[in-house]
Point group: C2
Chain length 244, copies 2
């Protein structure tokens, strides 16, 4: 009965967690736990909800479409990511999924799909991307799941930009220049990754003219958008985030 | 006739390139250029071979299974990556493909699949991985394709380690510590990314005892192997490679 000895299964639940708190599962979670993972009553599962850290919980009721877990003890404190927005222009489906997964893994606090002039996809399924962010946190031991926003246009987002938030964007025309974040101030930030075709001339002019925006280069080779996403997040986390 | 005006198609060829050099295509390349991309005689294609930079070439013969191109002029000088080996333990197929693609994009000079104690795949198809590295270079404007080695064991590789090459490995037990490359010397390096289950206790002990090896942490969250690959390459390139 390996299931009794390990607590490898981690589930994100949208439910308060605390001592002796009982947690009702959704239909999908019950299916996953009992039909897919074949967990019996009495088995342990780790739960987190982006608010109360990670809790070890015991299965007390297991049904086909429902189930109840009972929180036993907190096994990890809540670990909030830095105040970092991750903005990106959706590309092909599998790479968009990948970008969301990576942003969640790398510690973005909020994920914002952005419509730019050269963005091909006119809409994204927010709920599907949110599911990817949840799965990434479940896999990677995180206690926080970044919210995925509905897609909106870069223009409208910039027009309501919060005055205290800095913006770092990856400028393809800087290819070959040093990729330095030296002198970038601490505080709330957003990273913006453009679409495969890059930013339009208008967009680049606009971005370069914003007082809160800084551009960076990412080496002498052209990077795909998903690569640029992980690279930019790595550099930001090391210089300004919780990797330093 | 858009094809005459753009030279968006880039092909890696294992053939010398130079002024007035004619280049015979392989069967696969001919199929791609003429059947898939529908390029006519007279159209321009960019060629590179990891040695002679990028050349604009004109299609002079187009057949079903063969074709000949004629080099016109060099359009990009050869850009060698830094002397960086990228070593990784293959994981699931799609993520292994992804890691190879990213290592090529990020500027590794050589890619070495490594068998560790916790590596699940016993073998990888070297030719398939090499194709991914070529496609990444074709897509990303590179003029160099890293060689993908046959898989070998970490132990055997370490037993013949070149005396002048440093080794950076990502230590999961350092999760939460600062990810700093400060003090890492310049010179030939290798990056080693472990498998999903991490390194074994023996391997970690051995790695930590090597005079040429340095460990780094990659933030407070556990990263998947493919994420760790891009993150480690970003940090190395910024500090010691050609991003600085």
């Amino acid at each position: 009965m390996l299931a009794f000895m390990t607590t490898k299964i981690r589930l994100f639940v949208d439910h308060p967690l605390g001592a002796a708190q009982s947690v009702e599962l959704t239909r999908e979670q019950a299916h996953y736990l009992f039909a897919v993972m074949r967990q019996p009553v009495g088995a342990s599962v780790s739960l987190f909800n982006s608010r109360d850290g990670q809790w070890q919980a015991e299965i007390v009721e297991a049904g086909k479409r429902k189930g109840i877990l009972l929180c036993k003890k907190q096994t990890k404190a809540l670990q909030m990511p830095p105040d970092l927005w991750f903005m990106f222009a959706p590309i092909k489906k599998s790479r968009t999924d990948f970008i969301v997964e990576k942003a969640a893994e790398m510690g973005a606090a909020r994920i914002l799909p952005i419509q730019t002039e050269f963005t091909n996809s006119e809409r994204v399924r927010r709920d599907r991307l949110q599911t990817h962010a949840i799965e990434a946190a479940e896999q990677c031991g995180g206690t926080f799941v970044p919210q995925v926003d509905e897609m909106r246009s870069l223009e409208s987002l910039l027009s309501e930009w919060p005055s205290d938030r800095h913006l770092m964007f990856c400028d393809e025309e800087k290819v070959g220049q040093a990729s330095s974040l030296a002198g970038f101030p601490k505080g709330p930030w957003a990273i913006l990754i453009g679409p495969e075709g890059g930013f339009s001339k208008n967009e680049r002019q606009k971005l370069n003219g914003l007082s809160f925006a800084r551009s960076i280069a990412l080496g002498p080779r052209i990077l795909r958008a998903d690569t640029a996403a992980v690279a930019a997040l790595s550099l930001w986390q090391t210089h300004l985030g919780d990797w330093s």
